[in-house]
């Protein structure tokens, strides 16, 4: 019977080390299945987060052989032969074993000014598929926070977390800014408090997104252009001063692709 060897980081905020588990290999398994088998036998106290086991909830993010992955969507037979190393996400503080404290993301979520739509007409709003599609791409986000995990602005710089929202929230801001109904203006907030300028477009976030959201091309770059345009364009500046919350049409919201 073929076997798999798993090297799993065990420990807490005070430190820890790898433990190695050897199990029989089962056909078709994903990394999370093997972690579950370790829990059910050798280590019932092995901490890991998971919910849907179908790539829809974004709970089981961890680093598999050093790369952020959803454990539930990573087939064992797609990994190189040999020991599989599983570690917690690096950008967040450890709680225990594979579980990290992702509260940074919930703090950022609370800072987002909500959608401000006009009153709803009888029978509902009218929006066209091509107008909602851009936002729908961003709303595919399952909040696995792997884009945050790989973003080097915070991965290696804890000090930046106080003034940097990160890719997950740049797509949220982009979604709202491009929303056909939205009347809020978040451009100053995004530039001044959310640290959009720190992103230097290395696309690490896009590469790791399990939903294949084009975070950099479709959200961050258009958002940078919009914020910069608003800041340096004297007409837009004047417009902001006169009409505090300029309403943008759906056509305006459908931003031009990056040059």
């Amino acid at each position: 019977m073929a076997e798999v060897t798993m090297r799993v980081w065990r420990g807490d905020a005070d430190g820890g080390d790898f433990e190695t588990y050897t199990l029989e290999q089962n056909e078709g398994e994903v990394v999370l299945d093997v972690i579950h088998r370790i829990q059910a036998t050798d280590a019932p106290d092995l901490a890991c987060r998971w919910n849907c086991k179908a790539g829809k909830c974004g709970s089981c993010s961890a680093e598999v052989n050093g790369k952020p992955r959803l454990m539930c969507m990573t087939r064992m037979d797609t990994l190189p032969k040999g020991t599989v190393t599983v570690t917690p996400m690096k950008a967040f503080p450890i709680i225990r074993d594979l579980v990290t404290d992702v509260s940074f993301n919930y703090v950022q979520a609370a800072k987002v000014p909500a959608l401000l739509p006009p009153p709803m007409p009888e029978g509902g709003y009218r929006m066209f598929q091509e107008d909602v599609e851009r936002g729908q791409e961003f709303r595919k986000c399952i909040e696995c926070f792997m884009c945050q995990d790989v973003c080097h602005v915070i991965r290696d710089h804890e000090e930046n977390k106080s003034h940097y929202a990160g890719p997950r929230f740049f797509i949220r801001y982009a979604e709202l800014e491009m929303h056909p109904l939205d009347q809020n203006d978040r451009r100053d907030l995004i530039r001044e408090d959310m640290g959009l300028g720190y992103c230097n477009i290395t696309k690490c976030c896009t590469e790791v997104c399990p939903e294949h959201i084009k975070i950099t091309d479709n959200a961050i770059i258009p958002l940078k252009e919009r914020v910069v345009d608003a800041h340096y364009d004297p007409v837009a500046w004047l417009g902001r001063k006169i009409r505090r919350k300029p309403k943008r049409s759906a056509a305006d919201a459908a931003v031009q692709p990056a040059p």
């Binding site: 078709g28 829990q39 909830c57 709970s59 087939r75 919930y106 987002v112 709303r139 909040e143």
Partner: protein, 605 residues
Amino acid sequence: MTDVTTEHHEYDVLIIGAGGAGLRAAIEASQRGLKVGIITKSLLGKAHTVMAEGGMAAAMGNVYPEDNWMVHFRDTMRGGKYLNNYRMAELHAKESPDRVWELEQWGALFDRTKDGKILQRDFGGHRYARLAHVGDRTGLELIRTLQQKVVSMGTDVFMECKVLQLIHDGEGRVAGCVGYWRATGEFVTFQAKTVVLATGGAGKSWKFTSNSWESTGDGHAMALWAGAKLIDMECVQFHPTGMVWPLSVRGLLVTEGVRGDGGVLRNSLGERFMFNYVAPMFRAETADSEEEADKWYDDHSAGRRPPELLPRDEVARAINTEVKAGRGSPHGGVFLDIATRRSAEFIRRRLPSMYHQFMELAGVDITREAMEIGPTCHYIMGGVQVDADSQATVVPGLFAAGEVGGGMHGANRLGGNSLSDLVVFGRRAGIGAAEYIDAGAAATSFDQGEVDEAIKGALAPFERTNGENPYDVQHDLQEMMQENVGIIRNAAELEAAIVALDAFTERVKNVSVKGGRAYNPGWNLATDLPSMISVSKCVANGALRRKESRGGHTREDFPNADPELGKLNFAQSTEGGHWDDPVSVHEASILIMPAELKALLEEDK
């Protein structure tokens, strides 16, 4: 307690569960100026609602203007085989459209019709295309919209907190709960004027299930222990299409949207077998040839509906029969084929998650090959008996909404009626709680004795040294429930299950856990097991008592519906309030429908 320090919080409305129903209840109560706290066993935004795929049923009439609440009401009652709480079905059908439009005001982006309205898709048991949706990730859209609304309102959310038990005030009113933080294992108490249970389902007691680890029936069980009644617990929905291979993903949901968008079921002979399984009550509205069925997808007036879109109980039974007759697929399911019927581009656009799920997990390209699927435990229609208008239980101060509530779906739930149920009755529970507080009779004291006892029970597995591994108990429970209380049932197996559950009760009292209290899944499971046992007992009891086949409850020894039993709910309760107390089953008459609603059902019988 001696060595246990407990953190304490106080709220007007305490909501247990942060899926669609819990979040919608929180929004409603917060908007009424009440102090609201939400507790969730996972992180915010990860609740089971996120798994819902196909859509949210609401008779908006955007695609078929002839649709209206009366047709939706009729479809829901027929789907539920008339066991439903008619008043819930009525409120649900009337209020769903407003709840969908409201989500749009909060940021949801549904797919659109050509004229810019919310697009609606076909689903089993719904006469018209009625499901508002976003591709096949509608649940994600719903939960994210509600989550973002709750966050923008500044409502307190307590994440990764397992609630052990509800606490009373000494006069039979509910006054809060006790639980622990999963991250640290420290205990916490919440005192509240009202508690809304929105804990979802109980599918984790079965081996093959679409439900996550969280669905251990905590709310059902805590309500039972607190003095509420559970009804229709025998009515468990086995969704016809779960993945069957690889084994590690067996049970994972395949959306009904595949069939709504043209997918058909075939056996190993290539036959589109559903034409052989049309029950008399659905014959008048179901196509009797492939030609007729295929015309229907484009124009519902050109033919009657395909039999693949019968209600879920009918389809699941048919698949089960085909497999048992030896006409199954290699891994014990049947084939769900959309590849030969729709273009690859259409499939990838309409069913992106399904495409992705099969490609990544099974190595199957659904634009080229058929999927192998089979029934999987998906939803429990049974739940806490509530007043339809307020969602109040018989225990003062206790409310229940969403899957944990009982009655709305009768013996079988139609696809798409769950997401709308969450927001319609989540909102109503929020209003119910607010009105209860206004009435001024809410609990003011908090029974510390109950708290101490619950904590003692939760810590017991650490004190036992040579007990059983909780994972072994859970594994055996799931095997036993799948075997004896599965999709097709009989008296002998149900009696065996009831005996076995007594033995499981003793095994749960003897589990021990290793390690500390901080983020310890073994311990967390040990504290979920009492709920799983209580709920399993109620399902087995109800299934034994209901000597007929109706909706999701199928008895091979009583294959037909019994009109007399159709007038009854089985209500279950305990005395004493402990998880291991015996459960008693009572007959309760279903609500009698007013003549004008009855007329809607009889129109085209």
